[in-house]
């Protein structure tokens, strides 16, 4: 039962760079349709961990399964099965909205016969139909963010990784973006998200906190606040995530 619902399975995962241990025996599971928050101070080992989960980096030792694929031997297949969006959106600024959608649909191997239909569907959902010929460069930041997220999940991945997706946008846009995240999770896509905004940690079903290469806490925001006697996730984070400089 649990195995069926586990989208990411991590056991004793280690990544070393020379003598430096960036990730030190990480173990956790992420379940289907869950919003999983991944927090930690700069340099705690978050980025290295995400790069392994996305198939971009080969782990040193341990076990890793992502969407049923092996994190050591099937890294190319993992890359095709997941979605990824970072703060630096991966949109092409000098292509139009429509061209960007076609490009990503092509890259992710959406069959030609449904590509057109999918494109129109997406334009309509994002209310970008009238802006289809606009260069992405000329779109407001909030629209770019919505487009980048929708393209990251255009191939219906079972999991999407969001690496600090909401930095710098205004508070309304930031919340509209979380509406999209909720919607994706509601539709069964697992969302793995890192953020520096502690209020966003509260939107997650479960949160893992990393410090100095280890996971020092993993639970629901509610349970973490109770355990660490804090009124907010900010309080929990300050108690747990010692800067390791």
């Amino acid at each position: 039962m649990e195995k069926e619902n586990t989208v990411i399975r991590v056991r004793d995962l280690v990544k070393k760079f020379g003598h430096f241990v960036a990730d030190d025996h990480l173990s956790f599971d992420v379940y289907k349709g869950e919003i999983f928050g991944f927090l930690g101070a700069n340099g705690a080992g978050k980025t290295t961990a995400i790069r392994m989960l996305c198939g971009l980096l080969e782990p040193t030792s341990g076990e890793l399964t992502v969407a049923g694929l092996d994190g050591f031997k099937q890294r190319e297949a993992i890359k095709r099965r997941i979605g990824y969006m970072s703060q630096k959106f991966s949109l092409y600024e000098d292509l139009t909205v429509h061209e960007n959608i076609r490009l990503f649909a092509g890259i992710y191997g959406i069959p030609t016969r449904i590509r057109r239909e999918k494109t129109e569907e997406l334009l309509e959902k994002l209310e970008l139909t009238s802006a289809r010929k606009k260069l992405v460069r000329d779109l407001p930041l909030g629209w770019k963010q919505k487009l980048a997220f929708s393209l990251a999940i255009i191939h219906d991945p079972s999991i999407v990784f969001l690496d600090e997706p909401s930095g710098g946008v205004d508070p309304v846009t930031r919340r509209r973006f979380w509406d999209l995240i909720y919607e994706a999770a509601h539709e069964g896509i697992t969302v793995f998200v890192t953020t520096h905004y502690m209020d966003e940690a509260e939107y997650c079903d479960r949160v893992a906190i990393m410090s100095a290469g280890k996971i020092v806490a993993l639970d629901t925001p509610e349970a973490l606040k109770k355990e660490w006697d804090a009124t907010s996730m900010d309080g929990v984070f300050l108690k747990l995530a010692r800067s390791n400089e």
């Binding site: 101070a41 930041l141 508070p171 309304v172 520096h196 209020d199 939107y203 984070f237």
Partner: protein, 304 residues
């Protein structure tokens, strides 16, 4: 006034970055300029530090005009830009010496001012600046900005992309510098940092939305604000937005913050509405607004 800005306008081609910005910063104040990316924060800061000329309006820092007196002014202000702009191929110590020499001083002369901060990176003084961690780069940049004992310190988003622990430490450093008599003007996209400032200006789309102490800014919120939650937050947002009396419904940490067109709306009515739609563990309570609530309210008023 240590900083005085009057009706500053700045355009880049068709894009209006600043649409008539005015504000004053008192001597010894820690003043925050708060707004999202693209609001005009960097443009205003670059004008204040004499790196950019305004199209209209005027500004003075320590009674010196930012355009006419730029040479004099540059000697009196410390500036920490948003991007790391020290020399990556010089060591920590070489960077410090370089900036000290440019300003006609030495590290020793103003050591008292930077001691607290510099001591934390001194063990690595032989290391190339480009090879420091993010937090250490930030401390070096701050030390270099202070090396000539400026009267005013102007920082452009020093905490962007920095984790919550390092952010807290950075603000503690700023507070200590303020106690040493330095006026501080700092921009940030993080609304929660407003409470660490004496006064703040909220900026959006090149307009100042409000200027006041953080307490007075939050007190200005004119609606009754409700915190609501249930077991299914996704559906809770949708159901509340569908309610004809709902004015705004947004996530705020573990609760939704909700305002109603009808200020007389009672908690019981909201409770019944949600349980009637099948929600479980519904919680409804009145709550105090924060800076973000005010910001969102003001920016939506400004747009309409």
């Amino acid at each position: 006034m240590m900083i005085s800005v009057e009706n500053i306008e700045k355009k880049y081609g068709e894009v209006k970055a600043l649409r008539g910005v005015s504000l004053d910063v008192k001597e010894g104040e820690l003043f925050g300029l708060i707004g999202p990316d693209g609001a005009g924060k960097t443009s205003l800061i670059r004008i204040l530090v004499t790196l950019l000329k305004p199209d209209a309006g005027s500004a003075t820092v320590n009674q010196l005009d930012v355009v006419d007196d730029f040479r004099k002014l540059r000697k009196q202000l410390g500036y920490m830009p948003g991007r790391f702009s020290l020399y990556p191929d010089l060591s920590v110590e070489e960077n410090m010496n370089f900036f000290a020499t440019v300003f006609g001083t030495t590290i020793e002369e103003n050591y008292d001012l930077v001691k607290d901060i510099y001591q934390q990176i001194e063990p690595f003084k032989e290391r190339l600046a480009g090879r420091l961690s993010g937090g250490m780069k930030q401390k070096l940049a701050l030390s270099c900005a202070l090396i000539h004992a400026p009267k005013v310190l102007i920082l452009d988003e020093p905490t962007t992309g920095v984790d919550a622990v390092s952010r807290k430490e950075f603000w503690e450093m700023l507070k200590r510098l303020q106690k040493m008599g330095i006026t501080i003007f700092v921009s940030t996209p993080y609304m929660d940092e407003a409470n660490l400032c004496d006064r703040v200006a909220l900026i959006q789309d090149g307009n100042i939305l409000t200027i006041d102490t953080p307490e007075k800014v939050t007190q200005s919120f004119a609606h009754k604000l409700w915190a609501i939650r249930s077991d299914n937050m996704y559906l809770c947002i949708h159901h509340l937005r569908e309610h004809p009396e709902a004015e705004s419904v947004f996530g705020f940490g573990e609760y939704l913050h909700v305002t109603w067109k009808n200020q007389e709306m009672q908690a019981e009515e909201m409770m019944n509405y949600l349980t009637g739609l099948g929600h479980t563990n519904v919680e409804v309570k009145e709550t105090e607004p924060g800076i973000e609530d005010v910001f969102m309210d003001l920016m939506q008023k400004h747009d309409s």
